[in-house]
Symmetry: C2
Subunit: 118 residues, 2 copies
């Protein structure tokens, strides 16, 4: 099992999924799988990794403990990010009519597998 | 109708809601309503407002357009934040067993009312 196999399965199992990726908190993508050639998740790595780091810090200092998930909805897509290990995260991009609940479930299910590959 | 009335209604309509607040992107809370005296949403304003600003910037530069919502799940609570106008957001904090779907719905329904008060 490798990263791309797991990412491909996540994308194929979720209606409206555009792409998925494993990204380090330093902003560097480890691997990705996308259904659209112009949708490059690694290009988003640097920007979104900053948000994950800020969310971790904010939640710790507000007494909410460890951050598990950050979700961002925009007028064009929804990005779900779940923390992997200490300094990585897996992200899934969905169309606006994508199945958000299923996306979150597939990511949660994939976390143990992805963490084994880190 | 004032901010606190709307915030109180949101919290009372959502199972597992801890508190809600209207916060500026400068980190200053305008108003809040909480069911727990030790849960002070204004204290989180400065930290979480940075995340909203970063999410807006990341989504614009990644070509996803305007950001509507940011959700952060931690080991103790879930924070839902929805953008209000150009430089404010409304946030709702939920227990882990809180009704996330209902929370998002109540916030969405309240946005037009809250924007009128800005």
């Amino acid at each position: 099992m490798d990263f791309k196999t797991v990412l491909k399965r996540i994308v194929e199992n979720v209606d409206g999924a555009i792409g998925a990726g494993v990204i380090g908190e330093d902003g560097i993508a480890i691997d990705q799988y996308s259904t659209k050639p112009d949708f490059d998740i690694s290009a988003a790595g640097a920007e979104y990794s900053t948000i994950i780091s800020s969310a971790k810090k904010a939640s710790q200092s507000f007494g909410l403990g460890k951050t598990n998930e950050v979700l961002i909805s925009t007028e064009k897509a929804t990005m779900i990010m779940m923390v992997l290990g200490k300094s990585y995260f897996v992200t899934l991009a969905l169309n606006l009519d994508g199945n958000l609940g299923r996306g979150r479930l597939e990511l949660k299910k994939a976390i143990p597998e992805l963490e084994k590959l880190l």
